[in-house]
Amino acid sequence: MKARRLNVMEALNAGMAHELESDADVVLMGEDVGRAGGIFRTTSGLQQRFGSARVIDTPLDEKGIVAHAVGMALYGLRPIVEIQFSGFIHDAFEHIMFCATRYRWASGGQYSCPMVIRSPSYGGIKGGFWHSQSCEAYFVHQGGIKILTPATVDDAYRMMIAAIRDPDPVLLVEPVPLYRALSDEIVLDGQAAEIGRAEVVRAGQDVSVLTYGPIRHQVAKVADDLAAQTGIDVEIIDLRCLIPYDIGCILDSVTKTGRAVIVHEAPLSLGFGAELAAVIQEKAFGYLHTPVLRVAAPDVPYHFSIGDECYRPDAGRIRIAIERIMEFEH
């Protein structure tokens, strides 16, 4: 099979197309996803190809969309639902967290809800606080849902496939700022990503940076700069999955470097970094030379006119945290 050059959006589209093609139970629904292919065009051409019974334009009702998908999933379909922006997912919170994730357990294993909730997330598109949200952390507590977040073309395609094939509900946290900005060669071979594996983006000896989402690319840049300018050797781990996260990979890295910085776009308090810091200090206590540090957005809404520049963690703040952890003295 030949490699093709796709951007993230096209890779997501290809992943959906592959599954729509190979499994008649897969359906796709959401606001504007059909005829026009979604407001980002992530679903372009899919209704034309698979028909309006399977690629469905819905009313403007996030709760209704997810709740109906829950019913479809109970019946045996594998719905993919698009929430137009993750900022509008909250209306469906009950149905994601306390319906989709509960039917299996609450029915004694009789029913299940295999479904994918696509949640376009992250800042950097001058979207203001509703169109730049990173709200994945809300879905971690009581963890009945898998949470995947691709930050490469390969992951976009393969995580989409993995999410659709998974027998349980999956939240796919999509990187809006990378939709068109990032492209890469990929072979569209229908291979699913493995759920629960982190990726060591860069091996290093001095400090582990644990991150996920588009900001991974800023971290990589900082690491290269630091290596060139200061000799600090950063190991970068893209978590890729929050539930379940890859504890083995994290501990291998942190016990090696003795230092961990967590970077995410979501706000600090009870962001996913809190869980990671709590777990790392518990499981790797004896190995840590320094406390685990977190780089995150503050606990305030995403600012429209200066948020992309000052609210979202950036290379500067990531670098400062790494330098700080390297200079740490008891």
Binding site: A24, P59, G64, A69, G71, M72, A73, G76, A106, G108
Partner: protein, 387 residues
């Protein structure tokens, strides 16, 4: 809600009101369809459905069994053997007759007052009681509050516990069947209170647009805990809410199993023809809301009395007697049988084991994550150490 007292925001200051609580006596004016009256006589409104003797007897026997279960559940709760009880006295006709109007492989999404749906589909009594006792070997493995029933083998989906949240699940499942090209139809029961939630709105709106084979039955039993149906919405009826979504709708006498059967049957047929229906079944909760409730705080005894005269069991019994299908001997035998069967089921169910702590972790995901494996090991280790 026409014909009912408007206790709404300013409840009538107790007593004095003779009658006017129950609209079933004036059903035509209230737009409520009936087959039989309080005495089991044909009213001439809806035609008598074409049901044979055995079926009618089965219908009545199930209503009595369900009543007997309620009585027993109540006693078990009051004596501390069952933790919690949700009564269904007075509500037997709606769910039993509607279930009979559907095929065995049609799906039902039910509430918490509907044991007859399971029993009609073949669930053993002991299975129900095992659920009430929270025992390990019932479908939900003891995980859920008593009376939140269901069983996949019987195509009965367990309730979500949040009132009304499952209405769009039922609608979505029906839509799924339509997409798959299956012939399955779907039935869901929910209360007057449930219509206030956004889920009702979502489901009816999607149903109007996508026309899945679903029948919504709003069991208007007069109350949502302490809130009268007249304070739940200013709409004259619950049925007419269907108009806002172009969903076919009607009101039936929910204490008349023949009317419910007729309406549900017709709705089931239409469902396959792209016409989902909303049926408001006007009935009355004769019992407490739950075992934690105290109706003295919010409703008049006269209201309960007036409705008790329309008890679906009495009406159905009289109808059967009129037809010559039923008599005092059968009635006595039936109650004896129910008591005996329930005795046996209770004894057997109560003796069953409780779930293991380890089982709390099962059925979270198809394959447990390492996170849960680790938490399970830690918890079991701790419990071990404590014991």
């Amino acid at each position: 809600m026409a014909g009912k007292r408007k206790s709404g925001k300013k409840p009538a200051a107790g007593g004095g009101r003779a009658g006017g609580y129950c609209p079933l006596g004036d059903a035509v004016r209230a737009g409520i369809r009936q087959v039989i009256d309080a005495q089991g006589r044909l009213t001439g409104d809806l035609p008598e459905p074409d049901l044979d003797r055995d079926t009618l007897i089965r219908l009545y026997e199930m209503m009595v069994l369900v009543r007997a279960i309620d009585e027993r559940g109540w006693v078990l709760q009051r004596s501390g053997r069952v933790e919690f009880w949700i009564p269904h006295k007075g509500l037997e006709a709606v769910h039993i007759a509607a279930t009979m109007a559907f095929a065995r492989n049609d799906w039902i999404f039910l509430g918490y007052r509907h044991p007859g749906a399971l029993l009609l589909r073949g669930a053993a009594l002991v299975q129900l009681f095992a659920q009430f006792f929270g025992r390990r070997d019932e479908p939900f493995k003891g995980r859920r509050l008593p009376t939140l029933m269901g069983d996949r083998r019987l195509n009965v989906v367990p309730m979500t516990t949040q009132v009304g949240s499952y209405i769009p699940h039922a609608c979505g499942a029906a839509w799924g069947a339509k997409i798959k090209g299956d012939d399955t139809r779907f039935l869901t029961f929910f209360g007057d209170g449930a219509t206030s939630r956004g889920e009702f709105h979502s489901a009816l709106n999607f149903a109007g647009i996508f026309k899945p084979p679903v029948v919504f039955i709003c069991e208007n039993n007069g109350w949502a805990v302490t809130t009268p149906a007249s304070a739940q919405t200013a709409s004259r009826t619950f049925a007419q809410k269907g108009d806002a979504y172009a969903v076919r709708n009607l009101r039936v006498d929910g204490n008349d199993p023949l009317a419910v059967y007729a309406a549900a049957r017709e709705a089931r047929d239409l469902a396959a023809k792209e016409a989902p229906s909303l049926i408001e079944a006007v009935t009355y909760r004769l019992g407490f809301h739950t075992s934690s409730d105290n109706p003295d705080l919010y409703r008049e005894p006269e209201e309960v009395e007036e409705w008790a005269a329309w008890d679906p069991l009495i009406r159905t019994c009289k109808y059967l007697e009129r037809k010559g299908y039923w008599g005092k001997r059968q009635e006595a035998d039936l109650w004896t049988r129910c008591t005996r069967d329930i005795d046996a089921a209770v004894e057997q169910a109560e003796a069953m084991p409780l779930p293991d702590p380890a089982s709390m972790f099962d059925d979270t995901f198809e394959q447990m994550t390492w996170m849960l494996e680790e938490q399970k090991a830690a918890l079991l280790g701790d419990l071990e150490r404590c014991s």
